[in-house]
Symmetry: C2
Subunit: 437 residues, 2 copies
């Protein structure tokens, strides 16, 4: 038997109680996306390998992308690695789409990682992107959206860290006088994980002198409320890239709906190669699950497909971590095991056809109803309903048949009532309204 029973390693089955939770979380996410006027888009699970090649950097492309050769055609395919590159390919294929184009996309992506707690090979992303606007308004909308998403999901203690790739490169150009500050970025990006001493060690290991290391550390430590942007802008105001970043971020910050959630943070780098302007990352105060959203501006990615620059900015919500954190904080729960609202309990199986017709009537009234399909005893029917936490039981026996009534039992309040058939669905709906979801 062994693995014949199992989903592949790093992949998960989602049983009903988990799916009910996931659907409720995702429907909240959709409602926020749509309030901002984002429209749904879907792209294939597979892309040609050449569509993904050259977009993500070495580690992703050499190891993390699920890539395979189709043995019939000899073509190389890949499971999509994120939802951003497929968006760029889509935009390139439909040059007639009016810009700015605002889309959301909720769907699984695949990474060939070593599975571990909280890290899967198949997981969902929830992305919203604005294509075609180079303006701070677009970045501000993405920041406001990110804050609204987390609040709507019930989180209150979080911050959204913000930086700008141009600020990073301008400042390090001035400080280091080198063109490729990538190795330095990689070290300071870990500030939150490894602390100041860790970063100091990492920078020294790069072969940098003590003085430069201290200057870099003092820059990386610049973080705090959005006003913290000001001093760095003044200090490096002669640098063209810094000026661009400061103007852009300043205008973005002016349009924040809830600036109290936004933190300027010079140690924020973000791994992906394609970012060009403002970048963002949301983190919860606790539990420490890493970032729960990330994104930024990527003005050159779509141009890799089209040949001309098409500016874009967006955010990706880490829905798996959000669910894990929400469960840990008690904001979310998996108590709901079925969507079923009413279990019809058949007291006498010779009445099956009658019970069946009542079940149909309740369903036609819009209720979610089960009737036992295994001819179980009354006790077994009740036991199964209890196991699934079905809130309402509707009993059908000879008395109910003869008096055209239904005996309704509210399992939450233990209230029992016998009502005329024609009032049954209304009575049940009233009961359901008093039951917390």
């Amino acid at each position: 038997m062994s693995e014949r029973f199992k989903a592949p390693r790093g992949f998960r089955d989602f049983p009903p109680e988990v799916m009910i939770l996931r659907r409720s979380v995702m429907s909240k996410v959709v409602s926020v996306f749509e309030r901002y006027g984002f429209d749904p888009l879907d792209t294939p699970v597979l892309e040609y390998w050449e569509t993904l090649a050259g977009k993500y950097g070495e580690e992703a492309e050499g190891k993390l992308i699920w890539r395979f050769t189709d043995s019939w055609s000899g073509r190389e395919y890949a499971l999509r690695y994120d939802l951003t590159v497929p968006l760029a390919r889509f935009i390139a294929s439909r040059r007639d789409i009016p810009l700015p184009f605002k889309r959301y996309h909720i769907g699984p992506v695949w990474r060939h990682e070593e599975p571990q707690r909280g890290r899967y090979r198949e997981f969902y992303q929830c992305d919203a992107d604005i294509v075609g606007s180079p303006y701070p308004e677009a970045d501000a909308e993405i920041l406001n959206l990110t804050v609204d998403l987390l609040r709507e999901l019930g989180f209150s203690n979080f911050k959204v860290r913000v930086n700008d790739r141009r600020l990073l490169s301008g400042v390090f150009e001035e400080e280091l006088g080198i063109g490729n500050p990538l190795p330095v970025y990689r070290v300071i990006d870990k500030l939150d994980k490894i602390g100041l001493e860790g970063v100091r060690g990492g920078l020294l290991k790069l072969g940098l002198g003590d003085q430069i290391v201290e200057r870099i550390l003092s820059i990386a430590e610049l973080r705090g409320p959005i006003e913290s942007l000001e001093p760095i802008c003044s200090r490096y105001s002669l640098n063209q890239r810094v000026r661009e970043a400061c103007t852009h971020l300043g205008k973005t910050f002016n349009l924040l709906d809830r600036p109290e959630y936004i933190y300027f943070d010079m140690s924020l780098v973000r791994g992906l190669d394609y970012y060009t302007g403002p970048i963002l990352e949301a983190v919860l105060d606790k539990p420490s699950v890493g970032s729960v959203a990330g994104g930024g501006r990527y003005d050159n990615l779509i141009g890799l497909f089209t040949g001309t620059q098409v500016p874009a900015t967006g955010v990706s919500l880490g829905i798996e971590r959000i669910i894990d954190a929400g469960l840990e904080l008690g904001i979310l729960n998996i108590d709901k095991k079925t969507v079923t609202e009413v279990q019809v309990i058949v007291l006498d199986w010779s009445l099956l056809e009658y019970a069946w017709s009542i079940t149909r009537k309740l369903r036609e009234a819009g209720l979610k109803v089960r009737i036992d399909l295994a001819r179980s005893s009354e006790e077994a029917q009740r036991r199964k309903a209890r196991r699934l936490n079905i809130p309402i039981l509707a009993f059908i026996g000879r008395t109910e048949l003869e008096t055209s009534t239904l005996t309704i039992y509210n399992t939450i309040t233990s209230e029992r009532t016998t009502v005329k058939l024609e009032d049954a669905s209304e009575t049940i709906k009233k009961m359901l309204k008093t039951i917390p979801n």
Copy 2:
């Protein structure tokens, strides 16, 4: 450039207008599934190859399954071919799940077909299955569900063809005296496509004698309203398998909510190997898109994983064909290009921050609102809103700022009204209620 722009052959991007339609269709499907007390389940896109092997028959496994070797681990994986075998594997992995277990699953499956009009390599299925009930009640619920689904989606001229695998094998055992009637099945399965003469030719080609061929034809032609089951049950009442099928189908038919949609049809076979009892297939009177739903009882499939028999029955809705047919019949349309309800039109960009705050207020009231992110002229803002059929325009200029008002334009009725800011969202919501979806 060439294929760098394209989704892989046989795969599709779904732009917003198509996604809006698909989401609306699928949400109707979900509401019917849930009314019957089916709960959501999701399984991975990939399965180990050995999970799928030996379940579907030769053509599927030799050619149609997307199968590949992971070059890191050397393991063979496959993209799921349907949603039924993953369900069977899931059941086998969770022996603690209370039975009967009712789940629905909506998701893509992959087939390595030659793409052609209406046939894709990636397409969605919508499945509902009942695991753990051997009784006709379960099959009746599947039939009633199928009828309700199609009616809920707006179809009225369709029939659900029903047969039983035991009836087929019993009758052909009697008539042919052979143990393996599969080649005969395959020919009569095509009756609807190739007509009586085609079937006659196909049977003769199998080497069968004239007399036997005529007898088979007269059996395959037995179809019509559910009462048509009766004569065949009487004629072959001595055969054990026929008796089982007739009892089972008879009880199933007794529980039909709308028997007028159900047709007994001795020529219905269905391709997949795993069916063991009642089988069904829904077809529209027009357009002729082939079957739009199919399913049946498969009492032995789960046992291939568990070693013990677990009865099951279900239906799979062919959502892609249903959408194609619905569009052709005018039941469905792709007129809705955005979810956005309100476009804020900024008449003076120096008022951006004010317009931004109004936009936020409308969103907080639950409206789906866009504000231009490209600093376009009034004319360009209106043109873009028109292209997307956004129903409401909300104008913000100096007058509106000074008088704390909003000028609202209903693009459907051409009604224009200026309202106090605090009444704006209520006014818009009332307007939206009068606009067809």
